[in-house]
Symmetry: C2
Subunit: 645 residues, 2 copies
């Protein structure tokens, strides 16, 4: 079986051997797949988002002029949209100067500065809509969640520009939060219903080197789910019955149990991913084996029972999250864009703690499929939820009222470079295959790694190493779990991968000479994929995958609706690169079986004792990420399998 | 292919050769299948309904003491529940005296009498809740629908008891309705959004022989869907935008087109069935070929594109009705009990106009499957909607707030006898195979037909004819469409069915001697059923049927959840009568294929390039009507078919 990953049953790598991502500012991307997307994100999506933040009143809301009766009323989560947009814009500015965009950001930061209270508090909703209600409903009202996104925005802004204005604002606010929350007398033993500030505080700690922020993050994580339950007490103080919680269970916000006792990913998927990302951060920063073990348990549970083939997670619209093991319906899949992005965040952090392709494979899967599907080719239509089957009525939205997903995409794309490589004093790790160049420092020596590849359409990769002088290093090259036939060579000399495989990475330890070239050839046949038989929606179904790309069939390419086709186990399927389709994609073409409807139509027959006769029918599959960019029609990732039992 | 029916492309049978149902008062049922159900309906369901009518305030509402602020507020459709209950109770009283029940009915009729206005008007909601709003919203508020059910109740009461009190009340009310509605100046050119009064007026016409009631019914049918549209004008008069109609389209209430121009069954399924029943009635009463042709078009459309295998109809909860051709999802099937009952009403009427098994087969299918599934074996739990697949969370309700379905079942079951036989001056027709005795008059001669059978579990039927003297008659015996091997004999002498087949009925014309016996042996093998390939939910699926009974698999009988099984085309399936299961059912037993989960669990694997291995697994199927009478669990009518393509 493919997709069997190296065990994640590892202990925490010693601190000096842990990896760190190579920052995206040190990585250029110049391929034909991602580079145009990053450019479009900068040129189309970012202006589109700013325009919508303006038009929907989110920016004007920062002027704090709202009065009861005014429309629109600032929403509890609007500050988070502002924070994420600042982060998105700053991430773009970090590599691509844009004075107009910089001015937009500075103006918004000025508004935030004016809105900060004397005590450091900063929240639009609780300033104008619900003054006096500060910290009265952490369970539902996203107060610390908004702070978290503003923190992330502040750190990104500082890193991109070197300017401390927003960073200082947020440090003042966090100082006030740290006074407010904690275990000391007079403090509230609270934490937010929507995790986010926990991982943001780790970023703030790195940006400021102030360990109090690390401790505050740890406090929020440790307090979560303790008894007596903070959200129970808080509800009673509001005069509400804690049992009347709309979502029914604290699994919704992962506070049903103390975090270290949790063994299953539950509840709201984005919240779970943000929490788990913070857990991985804290495990690293605090050398905490137990936190790391908790992360691995949750990871294994998620990836072996609750993840869609596309890397989408979170089954149900009801809780925007998880339901039961193997409950992965296709047509009603919620699989929110933000949740897939959160999964990438978490996978990326796990990967630095254990250079194990179990994490990199899922990171890649989510990136190339469910994350990328979130935005249209035009850059201005967005999936919030994105199913794996559609009757033709599901489409990307122009601007969802809850616009977390577009902005989450916009903040991630400019940082794609940081997901490709990691390094430490002795090692370089290559996680993703994306053409471009990266700058490392290995043992004090500047090293440039130039990656050339036609990925994801071709499996050939060349990594050329440049440095001023020879240097010793372990270069860890990921051999993807989906690949069953990889050839690795250095300067044309083939290596035996099996001999040097560690947790799914080929580890090449040598004295590297300037100009050395590693070549990797990943066989990329079309694969038929089957799901665990407990996945009810996928019993008797088959999906198509090639390399990291999950495919789907759309009616736009197929005369016969995809749900009517039967795919046999053996018929050949070829991959053909179509430069003019969907901005250039490898499509899959083959023959399937289709029932002959004519037998049923004369005379019209709805039910029969005669099995439908099947006839050959050509099919074309396209990458899932590119669906719903043409005329509406049925779409299916999973197809009926002809079961030659 | 089975289920190919004789063409329904017939012309209206001349009046003197049309059939009439043999009234249920002339038919006894003494089998082990239906008789206990009719008894339970009388002994458990009727008292249960009365108790709930009381407890929910429906009976007290008739005292007209409700004032604003009182709870509960009488609902617009409560009068229809009263009317249907009177009909149910009367139908039971017609064959089984019960003084206490009679007293309950009389008391309710007294309340109705007191509630009738001086002008004849009678409606609880518009008397106490919305006085002054009479006839202002026929589109939505069920005003004439309620009148229709009270009329049906009145006719049933009159026929059961000979007492005219309620009949006279309703004649006065209908006289007022007839003054109010029509094409004359000063009259409203209206009709009800929920059809029902149209068919009720035909019954009133038969009970009173007053042709004005027939004409009023025809008026309502003819006016429906004419332009300018009554519901448009009515909405404007209320100061509303007609476009703001919540259901979006007048297809919802079949007023999108004049009735004679309609070619597709659309909208709310119960409304459509009640309308179509009235169309068939009017075609008969008025010798109207065009109405009959409209009925046949609608019939063919329904039964070849929009009917579930169980006889359930109406796909969507949104409109409680039809969506698109072949849109028959299983797990979300609405398939309301009342709609299946309405289908039986319509089929029964069509059958009298054209003695064609196309109608009888569907009538039987709906009766034995979707109608019967509506009530639990205990007689006090009811499906409103009833899907063809369940994850184990769908159950019959104790008493739905909208309780049309329980009462509809309760009024139909006592009348089951009328669906078995029809007759006219020359012919006797045997439509259903239910043990019991029927009294006919053929050419002035009293004839008794004694039917003996173990149907639906066994296909052997004996019909013994008794009369004082020999008589000439055509006895039409239905050869069901599901049967591919039938043997027919008279007094042991085999007949060549093909020679005497007319529209799916074997027609035996002879001089009948007292004591003559017709025997019919219907081969009843287990059949695998497939759906038209355009039915998305059923592609690659197979269902099981034996005789008239549709089967399902429940987790209660199967170690492996039914959605995980694959059924091959060839493996033998046996039918075994289990007297102690579910009050005695023939279950189906055989071997299916089940994926071996062990391959996927060590190590845990969610997706793989290896197809699941299948192992043999025994299965047990039970009649669909009996599902959800034991511990909760998954249920499936349609199973994965092992596709040996």
């Amino acid at each position: 079986m493919a997709f069997s990953h190296p065990s994640t049953d590892s202990t925490l790598t010693p601190g000096d051997r842990r990896l760190l991502p190579v920052p995206f500012r040190h990585v250029t991307i110049d391929d034909t797949f991602w580079a145009p997307r990053i450019q479009r994100n900068r040129e189309s999506t970012l202006p589109f988002i700013y325009q919508n933040l303006q038009e929907t009143g989110r920016i004007d809301a920062l002027r704090l002029t709202w009065k009861p009766g005014d429309e629109p009323m600032p929403h509890i989560f609007w500050d988070s949209d502002i924070g994420k947009w600042i982060e998105a814009a700053s991430n773009s500015l970090a590599t691509t100067p844009d004075p107009a965009l910089k001015q937009q950001v500075d103006d918004v930061i000025d508004l935030l500065a004016q809105g900060q209270h004397a005590d450091g508090y900063l929240n639009t909703y609780f300033t104008v809509v619900a003054p006096g209600k500060r910290w009265t409903n952490l369970r539902d009202l996203h107060e610390l969640y908004c702070a978290g996104h503003l923190i992330e925005g502040a750190v990104a802004h500082y890193q991109a520009t070197g300017e401390r204005k927003l960073l200082d604002i947020m440090c003042r606010y966090v100082d006030f939060i740290a006074q407010t929350f904690g275990k000391q007398s007079g403090q509230k033993p609270g934490y937010d219903g929507h995790e986010e500030i926990e991982l943001a505080l780790i970023k703030l700690y790195h940006a400021t080197n102030d360990a109090r922020y690390l401790e505050l993050s740890r406090y929020f994580v440790d307090e979560r789910g303790r008894q007596p339950h903070y959200f129970d007490n808080e509800a009673r103080e509001r005069g509400e019955d804690p049992q009347a919680f709309e979502m029914g269970t604290y699994e919704y916000n992962q506070s049903h149990l103390p975090v270290l006792e949790q063994t299953q990913v539950v509840g709201h998927a984005v919240r779970a991913m943000y929490l788990n990302s913070a857990l991985a951060d804290l495990a690293r920063e605090q050398d905490d084996e137990r936190l790391f073990a908790a992360c691995r348990r949750l990871w294994d549970h998620l990836t072996t029972t609750r993840m869609y083939l596309t890397g989408g997670i979170g089954t149900s619209a009801r809780n925007e999250g998880f339901t039961r093991d193997y409950d992965l319906p296709n047509e009603t899949a919620y699989a929110e864009t933000c949740a897939a992005i959160g999964l990438v965040f978490w996978a990326h952090r796990m990967l630095q703690l254990d250079c194990n392709r179990a994490y990199a494979d899922v990171m890649e899967l989510a990136l190339y499929n469910r994350v990328l599907s979130g935005v249209s080719l035009s850059g201005d239509r967005f999936f919030y939820e994105d199913p794996l089957a559609s009757d033709g009525t599901v489409h990307r939205q122009y601007w969802p009222d809850v616009c977390c997903c577009p902005i989450n995409l916009a903040r991630m794309l400019p940082t794609l470079g940081q997901y490709i490589y990691s390094a430490n004093a002795t090692d370089i790790a290559v996680h993703l295959f994306i053409q471009g160049e990266a700058q490392f420092t290995i043992g004090g020596q500047a090293v440039t790694l130039r990656q050339k590849t036609g990925y994801p359409w071709e499996g050939g990769i060349a990594l050329q190493i440049d440095a001023a002088a020879p240097f010793t290093s372990n270069v860890r090259v990921r051999i993807p779990g989906w690949c069953r036939d990889a050839l690795l060579a250095v300067n044309g000399e083939t290596l035996n991968i099996d001999d040097i495989m560690q947790s799914g990475y080929a580890v090449i330890a040598r004295l590297w000479q300037p100009g050395d070239t590693i070549t990797l050839d990943l066989a990329m046949p079309v694969e038929r994929i089957f799901a665990h038989p407990a996945v009810r929606a996928d019993v008797g179904q088959v999906a198509l995958k090639r390399g990291p790309i999950v495919y789907c069939l759309e009616e736009a390419d197929n005369d016969i609706p995809p749900w009517q086709l039967l795919l046999s186990d053996e018929s050949p399927i070829e991959s053909v690169f179509e430069p003019d389709m969907l901005e250039g994609v490898a499509v899959l073409r083959g023959m399937a079986l289709a029932p002959d409807e004519r037998d049923w139509n004369d005379p019209p027959t709805l039910y029969s004792t005669s099995r439908p006769r099947f006839v050959s029918a050509p099919f074309t599959a396209i990458p899932y990420y590119a669906w719903d960019n043409r005329q509406p029609g049925a779409m299916n990732v999973w197809l009926h399998a002809a079961q030659n039992t």
